[in-house]
Every structure is written in C-alpha cells, then in structure tokens.
Symmetry: C2
Subunit: 450 residues, 2 copies
C-alpha cells in the first residue's frame, strides 16, 4: 500500500486528504496536524471572540470522527520538524516530546501561514496577542474572559483588523485601530473611507497614517502604543494584525524552492521542485488568473481549491489549479465590502490600461422597504474593454458578496464591459433593479469612454 503524508490539518491539508481518499480509496492517507484542531474554520475566530458564536466547537468544518470515517489517518499534536527527501520521510514531534518518522510515497506540504511580526519592540509583552490559529483564539478568549480588558488597540487595518475591531466592540471594549496608512487598503480610498466611517459610527477610534514604533509597559498593568506621530495610546490589550507570512521554513530546509515573500514555489499542478512533493494553501505562491503569474495571496477559498488539486494529483490525477482572482469579502459591523480582480493601480502596474467607473445606487428598488445604498467600482481595460476588477460595498442585506461573484465569473470568462451590460440577470423589486447596479455601473463605464 502506498502512503500519502500531508503536513497540516487546516483547509488545504484536509481538502487534499479528502480528495485523495475519494479518488484512491486504497491509499494510506496520513495527516500530521500540529495541534488538536484539524479542519477548523479559523475564519470564524473573530465571531467566536465577539460572542456571536457561543460554542467554539461549531467552528469545525467537520468533526474528527467524520474525517476518520473517510479513512483519513489523523495524527494530532504531531508537529513536523523535518522532511527528508532522500529517504522520503517526515519526522514529527508528538505532544509528549517523542519523535516519530513517517515514510511517504507522496507528500503534501500544507503548513499554512503565521502572523507577520512587525519589527518593533514589545511584541512579547503580556497583553499583546496575535490571531491565526485556534490556539491563538483560545488564548485571546481566555484573556478576554478572565482578565476582562476594557480597552484594545488593533495594529493593522486589513480583514482581521476590521473583523476584530467589530468583535471587540461587540464585547464592550473600547477599541482603537492604528492603520499604517489608511483603512482597508485592499479597496480604493473612496470605499476605504466608507469602511472607516462605519468604524467611527460604531465608536471605534481610527488612527491613520502613523505606524506603531513600539509597545511599552504602562502603569497599572496597562500597555502603551507609541506611534511615529501623536501621543501614545494606552490600552489593556493589543492585537497585532499586520498580515501573515508563509510557514515555509520546514520545506525550505528540505530543499523546497521558495519565492515571493518566502512562499513555496509551486506549479499549477501544485507540484514543488522535489519529486513526489506537492504543496498547497497559505504556505505557497498562488497563480493569479489575470496577472498570469504567481503572487502571494493567502485566502481560505484558495487553500481549499489548491488542496483539492494537490490531493487529486497526489492520488495519480492530473488536476490543474485554475488560479485566483483575489476575490474576497469582509463584514465590518453592518457593512460588507467585497472585491475581485485588480484595483486600477494594480492593473496599471501589470501593463493594462485600466479605467474605473464608480456608481452609488441602491441594492434594490428604493420604493420597496429596506433599500440601502450600494457602491460599485468597476475597472476594465480602455482598449479591449475586458473586465479587470470590481469593488462593491453595501449593507449586510445588500447581496454584496454574490454581486462581486457575478463579476468574478464574468472576469473568469474574459467578458467585456459590454458583455456585462447584456447579461440576463434576475430582478424583482425586493432584490434588485431591472438593470442590476453592477450593470448600471458598466453602462456608466461605457458612457464615460474616451
């Protein structure tokens, strides 16, 4: 019997394991999970910490028992410490400190990512937290419920920063977000400003354009955040949410080639440079459909898809990862912000000749109760009119994310702005308009053509 060893029990690792077992039920599939929480939805941690999810166990995509029933050999608390490509084996340390070695025929590295650590002093002080794994979540939850901090500073204003500003506010903390430049830089500034307004409307203080220079111990167990400019901010708790970086050191030590931001270099079959070794998820470079090259763009959706491809190929298949458009969405208080494809400046940098139209409209016919404002930004190439990207922002009830998905689908098939206008989309007054706002924005793009 041949054996597939998978290092990592999160989205990419488990997707790979499930797919391999589906296609090759005769294969021995072993998953080495560094903790006791394989296949958990770590994207759900902010909602556990906010109190919206009361039982953390519900964050499991699947229960351990279900995975075992699929014939997946889970080895929990097995921290992989060495890959030996010569003997085709992986060594792991168990919770008890024992070393165990697993021979493999095929290997999948799905070690994920770790929080980026800004180069400032004070990151190890008590009261300073990171959030990436289930264990990180438990540690923070324990602090919130036992020490009962009253105030928090969140360093970073990306997706996790935004969700945690929401979550800690819901918990009753007084929250300040410190953004290196401006809030939610993954959106253009006209939409980023609306997210910032949503934060301030919910009593979150926002400090933009002043990077943190140090975290220091303050009086009475409090912490103090020094910034490049302005008075230090005192808080009981600091969450560092300044991005993530690939956990690729283990693979690199075994001779696996790494590239962008240290991520593992993979082909579109998710193969690495080592024979019979694949990699997937937040530890790898990701093929970008529009850019036609690899980037570092760690997202849960991508991890699932890459894991599935790696699992299929490790089981003898010939799958190919179709690539990412960087489609992503975040809920911040009552707002939802989504994007897909490229921002205008990103498209310029990639050699396109982009133009962007922006529309303010309503999510559905304004005469029907509950209509809320919807903002759409649509980017396309001036010359070819091919769609390049979109950003949509609106109320939680405004079907923001699926509207972004319509455009992601259109981009995937290289549709032009004209094609988008002509799509036969659904309409009833409670959910839309005869021309959906994304189509009206496309018309505005065309009307403003040079």
């Amino acid at each position: 019997m041949t054996r597939l060893v998978i290092i990592g029990g999160s989205d990419a690792g488990i997707s790979a394991a499930i797919r391999a077992r589906e296609l090759a039920p005769e294969k021995d599939v072993v998953v080495l999970a560094a903790d006791r929480f394989p296949n958990y939805s770590i994207c759900g941690l902010p909602f556990y910490l906010s109190g919206e999810v009361s039982d953390w166990k519900t964050l499991a995509h699947r229960k351990t028992r279900e995975l075992e029933r699929l014939g997946i050999g889970l080895r929990l608390d097995h921290k992989a410490t060495r890959i030996d490509p010569a003997t085709k084996s992986v060594t792991a340390t168990t919770a008890g400190g024992r070393l165990r070695t697993f021979r493999y025929d095929r290997l999948i590295v799905a070690t994920g990512a770790v929080p980026a650590r800004p180069s400032i002093q004070g990151l190890s002080l008590p009261g300073v937290f990171f959030l990436r794994s289930m264990v990180d979540g438990f540690v923070l939850h324990h602090d919130l419920t036992t020490r009962e901090p009253q105030s928090a500073v969140i360093m970073g204003s990306g997706y996790i920063g935004m969700e945690m500003a929401d979550a800690l506010t819901r918990r009753g903390l007084s929250v300040t977000v410190v953004a290196r430049s401006s809030v939610l830089k993954t959106l253009d500034s006209s939409l980023g400003r609306l997210v910032r307004d949503e934060l301030t409307r919910n009593k979150v203080k926002v400090v933009e354009g002043s990077p943190v220079t140090a975290i220091e111990k303050g009086r009475r167990g409090r912490l103090s955040v020094r910034m490049f400019a302005g008075d230090p901010i005192r808080a009981d708790l600091i969450l560092v949410a300044t991005g993530s970086q690939p956990e690729s050191a283990l693979a690199a030590r075994a001779g696996v080639t790494t590239g962008i931001q240290g991520a593992i270099r993979v082909s579109r079959t998710m193969g690495t440079n080592l024979p019979d070794a694949y990699a997937a998820g937040d530890c790898v470079e990701t093929w970008h459909r529009l850019l036609g090259k690899n980037v570092y763009l760690p997202l849960g959706t991508t991890a699932h898809k890459q894991g599935r491809v790696a699992g299929e190929n490790a089981a003898g298949g010939e799958a190919k990862f179709s690539g990412s458009l960087g489609t992503q969405v975040v809920k911040v208080f009552d707002l939802v912000a989504a994007r897909t494809g490229l921002l205008d400046w990103e498209a310029s940098e990639a050699g396109f000749s982009p133009r962007t139209a922006e529309l303010e409209s309503w999510d559905h016919k304004v005469y029907y109760p509950g209509a809320t404002p919807l903002r759409v930004r649509l980017t396309a190439d001036r010359t070819t009119r091919v769609l390049l990207g979109a950003q949509i922002l609106g109320h939680y009830s405004a079907e923001v994310s699926k509207r972004a998905d319509v455009i992601a689908t259109a981009i995937s098939s290289q549709m032009t702005v004209d094609d988008l206008v002509k799509l036969d989309l659904s309409y009833t007054p409670p959910t839309g308009a005869p021309w959906d706002p994304i189509q009206t924005c496309a018309q505005e793009w065309l009307d403003s053509a040079d």
Copy 2:
C-alpha cells in the same frame, strides 16, 4: 428633423426613447402612452397593494419631468389605434376622444401585454380583477380600501399569483390560491412544494390540480368559484392571474408578422417585417440564448434590454439583442425563488441530455447567526457538461437572486460544471462558505456522473 415614434410608455418604450435621445440628440422622439403613467415599475404593484409601498408615485422609475428634460416628447393618454406603413404614420385617440396622427421616419412598437383571459364565465362580474397596468392597480386598490373585502381567491400560481397571495394576506384578507396543476410551475416540483409550504405556513389555502370552471354570483354580494372538482369556494374578491398575452393586434392589423402566442416576430436587431419599424418588450418574441430560437417570455429585464436595442437601432445604430436565459426571481413571504436557463425537462425537449443535481445546504456558515437553509438545483448536459440551468430557493436574507445571477453569467459564457467548481468566488462566514453552495451542488453533479 427626423422623427421616431414609440407606441408604449412602459419599460421597453421608455428605454428605447432614452437610448435614441442619447445617441441621436437631433432626433425628434415622441412616445405615445396609452395612460398617464409612463415609465412606472408595474412589477412594484403587488407591494403597493400589500401596503408595503405607501405612495404609488414612488413606483415611477423616473418622473415625467425627468423624461421631458431628456428631450422625450411624451403624449399621455394617447391610445394608438392605427399604424399606416404606407404613409408612415400612427393615429392615436386622446383622452378627449380626438384623433391625432403622427408621421414617423422610424417606429417602435412597445405595446406590452395584457392579462390572459381564461375561457370561463364570470370574468366581468364586479369583484373580479386583473392586474397588469397601473390603472388595474388603482382599481384594485380602490376596491380593497373602500369595499374592504375579507377574502380572496387568486386564480393562477405564477409570479403575480404568488406575490398577490403574499400581498393580500399582509392586508389581512383570507386568501385561497387555485392552481391549475401545481404551485409555481416555473420551478421543479421539489422546490415548488417548498413555495406551497411557505404559502400554507402563512395561512394561504392552496388548491392544486383543479382548474376553475366558472365564477358565479353568490349570496350577499359574494362570489363563488367553481372548480373541476371539489366544493365551490366563496370569496369577496377574485384576482385572475393566469398569465399574459402579447398586445400585438394594432401591429398585426398594419401587416406586422406575428408568431408564437401571437407575439410580434422580431429579428435580433428588434426589427419587424415592416420597413423602419421595430418592436420590443412584452409584445414581441424573445431570442433565447440556450435554445437558439425565439420564444414568448415576457419579463421586465428583457423589455429594458430589447427597448435599448430598438432605440439604438432606430437612431442609426447596429445593436443586437443578446437574448434571454429566462432568469427570474420572486419573493413569496420570507422565501425567494430564482431560476435561470432551462429546467431538466425543457432541456430534454430542446435536444440536450440533461442531468440535474439537488443540494440542501446553508446560505452561510451555520455557526454564524442567521444561517438559513438553501436549496440549489443545477442542470447540465451529461455529454458536454455545459451548464443548462439552475433553480435556487432560500430565505430573503440568503442572497438567492445573485447566486442565480452567478450561474446565469456562467451559462452565458458556456461554462461547464467543472468551470463552476473552479470559480474564485468570495467567502466570509456571514455570507457563504469556502465552496459556495452552488459550487458544492456542482461537485455533487460531478460526483454523481454516470
């Protein structure tokens, strides 16, 4: 100066007028509107009648003044009675009974549709209503607010029937829906049943499979509905909502060729057989993208698009109608049901070899508050795996309509089921799952492949 005359002031007519003025500001554009309510959202009438929309004036897509500011010559209360292609003129009767004649260089017929009248007795009795135009809405509203009927029978269980069952229930009437066969036949029966359950959960009585044979006068001003089987149902009010038929008689008398169900035959440029005469909206045949032929499929979204094409071409352009996929959505109490493309049996009839997968899932991660069940049915060709259609049903909060739009977009670019699985769609726990339910349904379709 050349003149474009448009007969009809609803969606198709006004879209045509606006587009023609945009492209040819030198053109004299005259719209003959049969009533005083051009450019109203007649799709909004059920919500006015339910009381959810308190002021009917808000149903206007645009105010008359706005249309006039665009340079459109509105002639209200001008009922066109004759088209003379020989002299290129249209004769209309004004509200005062005067005859007026308008010469044209180009003509657009956008006369819409009228309610289908089933061949039974009693349709003209007081208390029996149809619903199609703003005036129909006012007449029914007047009856509801002055006579204050307590009970209603709705004949027909299509979109208008469903919306009006909801609307009259909200108003406090006791409502019975009589369906010729079963509820909402535009969906497969497994989903139609869920709509029926939503009606009965809201105290609407549903009688299926027993066509109405007559409407008769009952005692004390009540009406009595006789059916093929079962006891007659007594009610204070009867709404006949058994579909619509094209209003094409005026055009036909002038020599315009008609076809399916009497609808005006048009090319994809919206031209008719008469020189310089176009037609658009609910009075015409509609090109179906998947079937590759004309059908009769009157929808507001299509009327807007066809009107735009007709207006562009009447102004000297060369636009082509891209066709319909029959994408449509309806809200019934708390449920939303959407479809796009073909049902399984429709696809079979059209020569495809369809297979359909059905999935019951959640609209978003079940651990996040507010998750509701979502049903997805996906139809694709067994041989080519090309997507043919989808039906989605879920709670009003479940982003049902835009999920159908994602599939409409995928169908428009001839995507396969495999392509749908690979799409990079958005995910955050409050709005979806790492694989959106439409992708999970696509996976199930593939897993059940023969």
